[in-house]
Symmetry: C2
Subunit: 343 residues, 2 copies
Amino acid sequence: MAGPVTLSQVAREAGVSLATASRAINGSANRTVRDDLRERVLATAERLRYFPDANAQAMARGQTTSIGLIVHDIADPYFSSIAAGVSLAAERAGLAVTLASTQHTASREPRFVEVLTRQRARAIIVVGGRLDDAEANDHMRRSLVDFRRAGGSVALVGQPLLDVDSVVIENSRGAADLARALHGRGYRRFAVLGGPANHLTARDRRTGFGDALTELGTPVDPAVVVECEFTRDGGYDGMRRLLADSPDVDVVFAVNDVMAVGAIAAARDLGVSVPGDVGVAGFDDIVTLRDITPALSTVRIPLIEVGVAATELALATTSAGEPRQVHVEGTVVLRESTPDRTA
Amino acid sequence: MAGPVTLSQVAREAGVSLATASRAINGSANRTVRDDLRERVLATAERLRYFPDANAQAMARGQTTSIGLIVHDIADPYFSSIAAGVSLAAERAGLAVTLASTQHTASREPRFVEVLTRQRARAIIVVGGRLDDAEANDHMRRSLVDFRRAGGSVALVGQPLLDVDSVVIENSRGAADLARALHGRGYRRFAVLGGPANHLTARDRRTGFGDALTELGTPVDPAVVVECEFTRDGGYDGMRRLLADSPDVDVVFAVNDVMAVGAIAAARDLGVSVPGDVGVAGFDDIVTLRDITPALSTVRIPLIEVGVAATELALATTSAGEPRQVHVEGTVVLRESTPDRTA
DNA sequence: GTCCCGCGGGGAAGCCCTTTCCAGTACCCT
DNA sequence: AGGGTACTGGAAAGGGCTTCCCCGCGGGAC
């Protein structure tokens, strides 16, 4: 019992002062500890199974060893892959990751930022498409300002929206590339499962896709751009509605993979064959895609690397100047769900 | 600048003592603060955007507000679903979750326990099948002892192995139920993708499955119990080997879903039809299953609830007596991947 | 043989809170 | 009117660690 072992116990036991014990264990900068003392301290610490109290260290040093990660839903493969990257990078940097999953509730985001502010986390990584919701974004911006005033840095994954460093995913360009690739495979009558109207990532992908097709002379009829939730079930729903209204379509672009997966399920349930009757493409290349049937065409985003990049960005000492941006390109990957029609 | 706002700043600004400010903001037990003072303090805190330093509070109170979660791989849907449950329960309890993902490296586990010991986390949830590896388990046990000596509690998800409170998943029984259900559908020639030999969860599922079949008079030929990794790629590999060696099988039980998914992919790549030529069943009912083809028969484990239960177990004040156990039953779910053969 | 300098040990301050303990006030009861 | 009680504000003591600063000591330089 007697609670955790403290440094003073170690010092006393080793017959040295607190200061020396601290320096021996920590290897203080610009100070050295005589070898025999250091070894004695280390041995004592080991014997007593001493583990420094990170909270006390944080207080004394004025700096913690943890970073925060805010995602919409940790059970969603998109987020969990990014989380894996963050976790990896954090471990490399010797930091612990505090996970916050908002369950798609925007109001939770600033609340979690506050929690992390209290923890005095070194940095926060905020992942997930932002909404075009001035009030919510203002809340978030304000919380992040508080956080940074408390000494933390922030990196966003998604849009460069909140005046902070960001890993920017080239949604628009990726979607445009996909549109051109599909056009190249002979598709002409496009429909879009567009996600929520005010979801910025969804919007960028929609417009990138649409603009490219307009340039190619096969614009998307706004009637077949379906609004729906950004989730698997949203895709399912959207696809049902789309197929009910306008069956005259040869390919459907869902603005993310989980929606595309839902769309395929909806098509199957309605007896519409994919890709026989209609092709489907998604966006992100989440890891679970490799095992769905038909294999889904998509725009590959290196999610783990995105997580790593965001972490490194947040941790790199801020010059306090312009918000920095790291751009990540998507790569079009065409698979069975959109076979070549020109043949 | 000037770093984070402190309580003394708030107190000074509000014209009260530190003690009063603390009590006003915190609502201390068995003490009251006069209304006008409290309001003044609160208003000042709000105006100054004061956020208490959780590390300092932890020191003063001798208790932190975080719990640790150790998983094998956060990008694996099995773990991320449990993580979602943990995250949910933690939020309810007003605690932050520190995430550690070991990437299937056993030696990382005790290291993460140590990190959490330093953080003085309230509790640790360790998720993921343990190995029958005395040395690794000893390490882990010892680390957990250190952690508990520092005041934390522990809950395990999986086997009741390390003398700590556990959420025990009835692997053996679930697998036996599945075996009987498959037998009931007319399957007779069973094979097993058995996972690693020393993986306890895998072993329990293997033996539960095998024993039930022996009882039914259709024992599994040990030659068709294939050892492989506990991952999707392990399942892929194992299935390849299995199909190469012994094609005379009508159903394959993979000891977890991701392996089953890999197995289906392998079958497809080898031109073996599932379920036409061979049925496949898994275990866990991970959320991504709903969209693979054919829909996979499995044993459903309520993963989110498991996460919640583990968290609540860890947080429930320990009577310091026997390790407590919460048992979770699996439910057999038969889908397209194992159609009825008796018809 | 002095004088300095640098090295390294240890005392103590300080990080930001909570909580105990003391003291002052107001009020009630007799 | 005096004494007790209830209430509440504030001073101060931690809590575990880092680090500044002082000081003693040994060695190099002249």
